[in-house]
């Protein structure tokens, strides 16, 4: 059979190579895939770039490029004197720095504040680093001994230390005192309330629920007003409570209610078997809670606890409404100084205070994230 039929197709030349698939690795590929993948995506990228440029450049220009670094009064920060556009007026911060940090704490006694800060740092840092041992002792020192030591150091009146009234405290000192007291006071109270809310005893449970829901339902500012104006009326007429102490009481009660809900979340996450196991071993209620349940539950909610600390730290600013001058209060007071009244004073002050608040809150939230990841190792994802 003659095979004259031609074979279907015979390629005589090499085919043109297909274009390579779009690179999805390498710097160029990533940029293309993540930023310019299609019209919409490219448009979003361009809009984002414009927004970033519109925010970043004026900020840098104001804070660094146009800033005035040397000076002694408002005149040095006026455009007429500098003969160019004026950015941040840093001499204003330098002049008011002591006030922002210590309020009107006597200058010759300022070392006491610094010593308290140093002590706190010395105890806090090892507590935060997981690898350092003796956590129990460290925690007792930080939460038990340090507040007492700090109290006597700052208030004075003993061991030959001069008594310093809380009226002259101010600035970051007050901010930190209120946050720290709120934290140290609210943690035990919050744990007790959380236990009470999950208790089998009906009266205890009801009282705890009422307490928690009451404080969580009202704004902090009403709590501060309650503590400042109402609390003195409830106490015997001859008792005089210090203004700062009143605020501290209000803050502790308020923070405890929020802390109780965080701890309750941890208690609920502990499986029933743990309770039953502890009871089967013959442990009573307090031993069961103290040795078995709470250590697990608290570890579980460390991120939540840190988050409520951040909220508390930010909320301390509200005390300026009841005439206690924390960092923000001192800032506002400093704005009123005619010696530093320039068009840029306000922005400079807010930039400085903003950086302080941001660094502390952001640091704490990063730490919460870090512990969350560290505690999550046993779980998938």
């Amino acid at each position: 059979m003659a095979v004259d039929a031609q074979p279907c197709y015979v390629r005589r030349a090499l085919a043109e190579p297909e274009p390579p698939p779009t690179a999805s690795s390498g710097a160029f590929g990533l940029i293309q895939q993540r930023l310019f993948d299609g019209v919409l995506n490219s448009a979003l990228t361009i809009i984002s770039l414009v927004v970033i440029a519109a925010i970043a450049w004026p900020t840098v220009k104001f804070l660094l490029v146009d800033a005035v670094w040397q000076g002694s009064s408002r005149v040095d920060c006026l455009p007429e004197t500098v003969k160019r556009e004026v950015g941040a007026c840093w001499p204003f911060i330098a002049a008011k720095f002591r006030q922002f940090m210590y309020g009107f704490y006597p200058q010759d006694q300022q070392w006491r504040v610094n010593l308290t800060y140093a002590l706190g740092m010395l105890l806090l840092v090892p507590l935060l680093i997981p690898r350092i041992p003796y956590k129990g002792l460290n925690a007792i020192l930080f939460f038990g001994v340090f507040p007492v030591a700090g109290f006597f150091l700052l208030v004075g009146g003993v061991l030959g230390l001069e008594h310093v009234e809380t009226r002259v405290w101010g600035g970051l000192l007050v901010t930190l005192v209120i946050s720290f007291t709120g934290i140290v006071g609210s943690l035990p109270l919050g744990i007790l309330l959380a236990l009470g809310r999950r208790s089998d005893l009906p009266i205890v449970r009801t009282l705890c629920i009422v307490f928690i829901e009451f404080w969580r339902g009202v704004p902090l500012i009403t709590v501060l007003f309650f503590a400042t104006y109402m609390l003195p009326l409830f106490l015997p007429g001859n008792w005089r409570i210090d203004g700062l102490l009143r605020v501290l009481i209000g803050v502790v009660l308020f923070a405890a209610a929020y802390m109780a809900e965080v701890v309750r979340g941890g208690l609920q996450a502990i499986p029933r078997g743990q309770y039953e196991g502890a009871m089967a071993l013959g442990l009573g209620y307090w031993r069961m809670m103290g040795f078995v349940i709470l250590p697990q539950a608290l570890k579980f909610v460390i991120p939540g606890i840190v988050n409520s600390f951040i909220a508390l730290f930010k909320d301390t600013t509200l005390v300026l409404i009841v005439a206690i001058f924390d960092l923000l209060g001192q800032l506002r007071a400093a704005f009123a100084d005619p010696n530093w009244a320039t068009p840029v004073t306000l922005f400079t002050g807010f930039a400085f205070a903003g950086m302080v608040y941001f660094l502390v809150s952001f640091g704490m939230s990063r730490y919460a994230l870090f512990t969350e990841r560290r505690l999550n190792t046993g779980r998938p994802n």
């Binding site: 704004p219 500012i221 009326l233 068009p343």
Partner: protein, 396 residues
């Protein structure tokens, strides 16, 4: 044999004070007694202190004349009105700023939250930066920043910034045109409501038809067209009864239009941006909580991206989003009490601020103020619990 003898189970012999039931009862009694004793002492002290300081007690003060002005009020108010009226003026101002704030914060929060999940790297980072910056600065700091630094340094009325010559921004606030409703406005409103009702009817018809025949109906566009078109047609037919009164610069100030107080604007901006950052996180967490398998399955079934988001992802995400979202709404309402720091006349500022200063009746006034916020909170969380029970996945 002894072992055959069956003893009736006797209760274990314990001393009565070791009986857990009696103990529990005793402890609770002690706690209750302590709480009641504290309450009693407080009441006695309060009575003695009030008498010593010659402060009146009771709620009679509500009917006395307030004698101070309030610079923004939704109901008619003047200085001769009573403290009761002041209370309602403040309450309405609180609800006004909270209501507008909630709407704006929800919109901004959803946009930012979705942007954080965008595949566009730059956009996601930008949204993340916004959230981190706003969340880590105290709200009061932000309110003061907007009020003192941004709005306070705006030029005076004569150098107002103007937007299209209609809206004017200066250091006395934002002046916008005032809408004037002429005769026939009710008809336009009625047409709008009718169109909404018709859209709802159309929706149920379209759903029934789709489940019967599989045919789809362009519901969204029809409904939009009806709700915008019908009032517009009525408006045209009546010859535009709704007009605007433009603000005019006369001398040193504006006449006409509506002036939004700078306090109101600053508070609104701060509350909106602050709460939006938290809402963005809530939205992001909610969308991430829907497992990827759901999206993949929907795509495998042939649903388009938009439909996948609308029919599969969002309904499941909303179940996670709504409870914390309500919490944020409550926070916004409670945070609006910070208005007192810049002098916006909200409930707290005019009632717990000025009224307390004038009458000195701290107990009654702070109790009323707390009760208002408490009622708002409890009602909202009650509704939330109801909603949660309503949308819970029916599990076997």
């Amino acid at each position: 044999m002894a072992s055959d003898v069956q003893h009736a189970p006797t209760p274990p012999r314990v001393v009565f004070y070791n009986n857990p039931k009696i103990r529990a009862f005793f402890y609770q009694l002690v706690l209750l007694a302590v709480v009641l004793w504290f309450g009693y002492e407080f009441a006695l002290n309060a009575k003695a202190n009030l008498e010593a300081q010659k402060i009146a007690s009771g709620f009679d003060f509500l009917d006395t004349t307030a004698g101070f002005g309030v610079n923004q009020s939704l109901i008619t108010y003047n200085e001769t009105d009573t403290y009761r009226r002041v209370f309602f003026v403040g309450l309405l101002n609180t609800l006004l700023v909270a209501g507008i704030g909630i709407v704006l914060a929800t919109i901004v929060g959803f946009v930012i939250g979705i942007a954080r999940l965008s595949p566009n790297w730059l956009l996601a980072r930008l949204a993340g930066g916004y959230v981190e910056l706003i969340r880590n600065l105290p709200l009061l700091f932000q309110i003061l920043f907007w009020y003192l630094a941004v709005l306070g340094t705006l030029p005076g009325p004569r150098q107002s910034l103007s937007i299209f010559g209609e809206i004017f921004i200066n250091n006395r606030g934002i002046i916008v045109p005032r809408p004037i409703f002429g005769a026939g406005t009710e008809l336009v409103l009625a047409a709008f409501l009718l169109a909404i009702l018709a859209s709802l009817g159309l929706r149920s018809w379209a759903i029934r038809r789709q489940s019967r025949t599989g045919e789809q109906f362009p519901l969204l566009w029809t409904a939009l067209g009806m709700t915008i078109g019908a009032p517009f047609v009525v408006l045209l037919a009546l010859g535009f009864p709704i007009g605007f009164e433009q603000p005019q610069l006369r001398g040193f100030n504006f006449v006409g239009g509506v002036r939004l107080l700078p306090e109101f604007v600053a508070l609104l901006i701060a509350l909106t941006t602050y709460t939006a950052a938290f809402i963005a996180e809530v939205v992001r967490a909610g969308i991430l909580a829907v497992s990827r398998g759901q999206t993949e399955a929907a795509l495998a079934l042939g649903l388009r991206r938009g439909l996948t988001l609308r029919l599969i992802v969002l309904p499941q995400a909303l179940r996670v989003i709504v409870p914390p979202l309500t919490n944020q709404y409550l926070n916004l309402t409670k945070n609006s009490s910070l208005a007192v720091a810049i002098g916006y006349p909200d409930l707290f500022a005019v009632f717990a601020g000025t009224t307390l200063n004038q009458t000195g009746q701290a107990i009654e006034i702070i109790a009323i103020t707390m009760a208002v916020y408490l009622v708002i909170s409890l009602v909202t969380s009650g509704l939330m619990n109801w909603y949660n029970a309503h949308i819970r996945v029916a599990e076997r």
